[in-house]
């Protein structure tokens, strides 16, 4: 045991980074050690995140199409032609891309609103004392824990127009008079929001729940002595106290929904209707059905820029909050 770990130790300790990076020698002993520990993770991120992104941007200004899949480096340099093409609403591709961006915004905002309402309701309920609270929390988390590939297919089955249980239930309850097409046509985006929210609301719930748990009980006691009723307590204590958590939830849900691929891809199946083609799915189908990598990359960069602009807000918020805590 001892021998193994000391061998591992020496292999970590003896990487001579200083030989290649003179600046490294100026760091303190502890800092050098920290970098050694981070090295594998940083190297992988550089390889799979940083380089491909730079490369992706590069490809977005090259005319890479089906003829250049294995010789991408021979593709002609086309300046901003790809961007002009995919952003030009007069072309079919441009028009559809703009439409997909619009659907993406609807998808993100819709999911955010629905998950927030469901998550907050659930969190508030769980924050009360009752028998079986822990069990309820566990059960409410299951939609998020169950593998989403599986649950999305369940929803796909339930939303079938002919044989799905949803239509059958709605019909027998008299809510609708004819079976609805849930996964075809213009309604698809709403179905997508409903289903994606089902997979995500437990996460919102548990984050808000953690926020609720951190509100000191005395605040409520003081408020009720001051004569605040249930609604006033929520309005003047709970909601303001939840603000920091809520801000994180809002940005995370927006961003993660924007770049989510699994939900539309699985729920909408092999022939997704236009209404359900959010940007990432549209880019995927566009790029791989025609091997239009240059234009696909240009669209990806646009999507990334939008996500990044939002991420900046998130960073700023998070760093202002607590990032520097816990250092020694």
């Amino acid at each position: 045991m001892t021998r193994t770990s000391s061998r591992v130790r020496s292999s970590v300790a003896e990487i001579e980074i200083g030989r290649y990076l003179p600046l490294y020698n100026r760091l303190s002993d502890e800092q050098q050690y920290a970098y050694k520990l981070l090295l594998p993770g940083l190297a992988m991120m550089l390889l799979i995140h940083f380089i491909p992104i730079v490369w992706g941007v590069l490809i977005s200004v090259l005319g890479v199409d089906s003829g250049y899949v294995s010789q991408w480096y021979e593709a002609p340099f086309v300046w901003a032609e790809n961007y002009r093409f995919v952003l030009d609403p007069r072309t079919v591709v441009g028009e559809r891309f703009w439409y997909s961006l619009r659907q993406t915004v609807i998808f993100s905002v819709g999911t955010l609103l629905l998950t927030y309402v469901l998550g907050l309701t659930a969190a508030l309920l769980l924050n009360q004392r009752f028998k079986g609270r822990f069990a309820a929390r566990t059960l409410l988390l299951l939609p998020w824990v169950a593998p989403s590939v599986v649950t999305l297919l369940i929803w796909r089955m339930m939303f079938q127009q002919q044989s799905g249980i949803i239509n059958s239930l709605l019909l027998s309850l008299g809510v609708i008079s004819e079976p609805i097409y849930w996964l075809i046509g213009d309604n698809t985006i709403w179905t997508l929001i409903l289903v994606h929210s089902w997979t995500q609301f437990p996460l919102v719930m548990i984050m808000l729940y953690a926020g609720l748990q951190s509100i000191p009980e005395q605040l409520y006691e003081a408020a009720s002595i001051d004569g605040a009723g249930r609604w006033e307590q929520f309005r003047y204590i709970t909601f303001p106290q939840l603000k920091p958590v809520s801000a994180v939830v809002v940005l995370l849900m927006m961003l993660w929904t924007m770049i989510n691929f699994t939900s539309p891809y699985i729920l909408l199946g092999a022939q997704p209707p236009q209404s359900g083609q959010v940007s990432i799915l549209y880019i995927y189908n566009f790029a791989f059905s025609n091997y239009q990598f240059g234009r696909g990359a240009a669209m990806s960069v646009v999507l990334f820029a939008i996500a990044m602009a939002m991420a900046m807000l998130y960073y700023k918020y998070l760093f202002d909050q607590d990032f520097t805590e816990g250092d020694r």
Partner: protein
Amino acid sequence: MIPDELHLTDSGRETLFKLLSKGVLGCLLLYALFPIYWMILSSFRTRAEITAAEPSLFPFTLDDAADIVQDPSVLPTLLEYENYLTMWDRFPVFDYFVNSLIIASVTTVFALAVGCLGGYAFSRYRFPGKIGVGGALLGTQMIPGILILLPMFLLFVWIQETLAIPLIDTYHGIIFVYTTFTVPVAIWMLRGFFDSIPNAIEEAARVDGCSRFQALVRVVLPMAAPGIAATGMFVFLTAFNEVLFASVLARGDVTPFAIGIQSFETQTTAYWGEMMAASTVATAPILILFILFQKPIVEGLTEGSVKQ
């Protein structure tokens, strides 16, 4: 002083509120659990039962249920477990499971190894560029996968053709990609768990004769075991659920469950029963594991975003 009548209305309102709470909670639970219930139920049904115009919401008729209560041994005869037998022959489900298991487990091991080192460095040390690296870690979560997939696909094709190293449709190719994608989250989550371990304990270990690295391996990691397990489960699930990269980089012999399961629905027929049977087999162990180990998992997931 509060008049008596008001007291009454107050307690009345209290009761009403409680009832309302219970009602809303019931609705939420129904929404959350019905699809899972429906999956299990459908997996025990024949195609005719599944596609019936008015499918029954319950597994048994009242008469059958009465029979079962009287004599539980009749239960197997009333269950339609055909799907669980036919799915293996009709589709290569077994291969899908094995592929997913290999890909997700190896990814988990690698991501945890790299993540433990990085998360520990993040939790314990201050170093130049820490905020930048931290930002980059979080930033990776904001990247649309497609932006990486396109160049990565070209890169893999290029490496395969010029260097003759097969990467597309191989275990090592997809595992490498998944490991990298999960490492930032792993670092972030583990950092939270390491933060909760007092520094004094590893100082004690160092005074007791450990080097820094030995203190990490022999004292800190065993103490962080619940957190490591939670992170591992998260990484495993992420790898298990991934479809964007898998749909391009892991087809053929290495097709994982997440991609393979979609083939149960063809252009002409949907084998819902078999699909739900396979889904139940995939979901059951995950849900059971979660229910058993939920505490550290839930804590770990809320740690990064909601720090108290």
